[in-house]
């Protein structure tokens, strides 16, 4: 696979039915031996311009360098926890090409002079768990790994894969975020400098070590080189995980999946912490940060959800926000109470309770005006005249930035984007209640609510 323009890269030679074996992996793109020079690798990753594929898009070489120069021996963690329900790419990669990820984990350990390696895999991803277990047995027999790898099962939960939550899971067995700093790259697992890298990023590192930075830059855009895994969901005939070159038109991805952007209400880019694009914006967008930034969006973990033109964006948003509110780790008041209130208000807009509340309020004020009675005073009056959407907007502004982790920020970001993109729909529901499309079966996928956390009330 030395041709730089060939797709797929990561999923080349991957076995959709249970993980490529070690011989298959070596035949397709494995390094014979993993004893590459760490400093060379960091430089090559830097030249390749690789950025983290877990959502934050942080430059990988910078992270490798910082962790490698900590005071104590480092720990590397491959993050395959993938708490985002709109994404399946990490589980798919681990299930189909586990050796590529495990090579990347070893190479990251070499680059940071780490002495311990951990692979975090979500417990729900049974195929990924099985493929990783088999792959580790094969590598053990072949004496391929220099650093021992420990597999950690990550419980369900949107915030379980957050970096400090993962550190807590490894050290204390409980996947909840802590107030940061220090960040794990300074003080993480066992108090040691810890490299937490998404599993797809590690797989790219393995390919860069094998073929070099110039090869890596053979696909993608000059500023955002390479390929990425995306998860396509919603109104497409063939949903699922695909590998694309960065800069690919969003329309081409959707068409490849058997969908049609001329028959959509909007596209949710970047998963459930992501941003809605209206159809016109979606048609003009390419899948890279430079194209999405002016639209207020980012690639995130590469999840793309297509909302069909006969679906209701209000009902879909209310449902997702309600699920996200339930995924709070239950530690911080603004997240626990604020998100629950926002979700409840959005639900009331979607199901018509907000419209009835509004009708009652306007009848009351009309009759009061007829009898020329002064309304009850002060704050109570303001609260009464604040409709459900106004409350959502106010709470969204208040909740942002007040959690230990970024969970509340991500949720209000989605809410703000939905209110902006579908403003007319929300206003219409607020005044008149549910629309004809509200009763349809929801399109965007959500798993059962994880019950890993007890909400401390």
């Amino acid at each position: 696979m030395s041709d730089a323009s060939t797709l797929p890269r990561l999923l080349h030679g991957a076995d959709p039915h249970g993980g490529a074996s070690l011989p298959t992996h070596l035949r397709h793109h494995g390094l014979r031996a993993l004893d590459v020079d760490g400093a060379w690798l960091v430089e090559e990753v830097e030249r390749a311009g690789l950025r983290g594929r877990g959502g934050a898009a942080f430059p990988t070489a910078t992270k490798l360098e910082v962790v490698g120069h900590g005071r104590r021996r480092a720990v590397v963690v491959g993050n395959g926890s993938e708490g985002e329900p709109a994404s399946a790419k990490d589980a798919t990669l681990l299930a189909q090409a586990p050796h590529l990820v495990l090579d990347g984990l070893q190479l990251a350990a070499a680059a940071t002079r780490a002495t311990d390696a951990i692979l975090a895999v979500k417990s729900r991803a049974r195929d990924a768990q099985a493929a990783v277990a088999t792959a580790l047995r094969e590598r053990d027999m072949a004496a391929r790994d220099r650093v021992p790898v420990r597999v950690v099962e990550v419980p369900d939960g949107y915030v379980s894969g957050e970096e400090s939550a993962l550190t807590n899971l490894v050290d204390r067995g409980r996947a909840v975020p802590t107030a940061t700093p220090p960040r794990p790259f300074e003080r993480g697992v066992g108090g040691r400098p810890t490299l937490i890298q998404n599993v797809e990023t590690l797989a790219h590192v393995a390919l860069i070590a094998r073929y070099g930075a110039d090869w890596y830059r053979g696909l993608g855009t000059p500023n955002e080189p390479g390929t990425m895994l995306v998860t396509l969901q919603g109104a497409v005939a063939r949903p699922g995980v695909r590998e694309i070159a960065l800069g690919t038109p969003l329309a081409a991805l959707v068409e490849h999946g058997g969908g049609d952007l001329s028959r959509t209400r909007g596209v949710l880019v970047g998963g459930y912490f992501g941003t809605w694009l209206d159809p016109a914006a979606a048609r003009g967008a390419t899948l890279d940060a430079a194209s999405l930034r002016p639209l207020g969006a980012s690639l995130g973990c590469g999840a793309v959800g297509v909302l069909p033109d006969d679906a209701c964006p209000v009902a879909e948003t209310a449902r997702i926000v309600s699920w996200l509110a339930g995924e709070s780790a239950g530690q911080c008041g603004p997240c626990v109470f604020g998100l629950a209130a926002i979700a409840e208000a959005l639900a009331s807009v979607a199901d018509g309770r907000a419209a009835r509340e509004l009708a009652t309020a306007s009848r009351r004020s009309a009759s009061r005006a007829r009898r020329s009675v002064a309304p009850p005073g002060g704050g109570g009056r303001r609260a009464r005249s604040e409709d459900a959407l106004a409350r959502v907007r106010r709470w969204s502004g208040e909740v942002a930035g007040r959690g230990a982790c970024r969970h509340p920020d991500g949720v209000v970001r989605l809410v703000a984007s939905a209110l902006r993109t579908f403003e007319a729909d929300f206003e219409d529901h607020l005044r008149h209640g549910p629309c004809g499309a509200c009763a349809r079966r929801p399109v965007l996928p959500l798993p059962a609510q994880s019950s890993a956390f007890e909400v401390a009330a």
Partner: protein, 90 residues
């Protein structure tokens, strides 16, 4: 080099909404609809520092903290400079 300014910070995990901070320091703290504090993130004015210390010391869960952060030296400090300073502080 840079002067340090004091800022209020709430540890959101420790805070359980007793609300004393808003009683003692209404200039900088208001409560949200559930009684959790929303603190003013700007540098504390010198005349309020003593009040802020008192509020922090009586917080039943010690969730309210005073934090010294590097003040931007000149109002027009470049963004990258500011980011670097705050990164080394944290």
């Amino acid at each position: 080099m840079s002067r340090e300014a004091l800022h209020l910070r709430v540890d959101p995990i420790a805070c359980t909404a007793h609300g004393l901070c808003a009683e003692l320091l209404p200039e900088c703290v208001r409560l949200d609809d559930w009684g959790y504090p929303i603190v003013d993130d700007r540098p504390l004015p010198p005349e309020l520092v003593a009040h802020a210390r008192r509020a922090a010391s009586v917080c039943p869960t010690l969730a309210l903290k005073l934090e010294a952060r590097a003040a931007a030296q000149v109002p027009r400090a470049s963004r990258s400079t500011r980011r670097r300073t705050s990164a080394t502080q944290s």
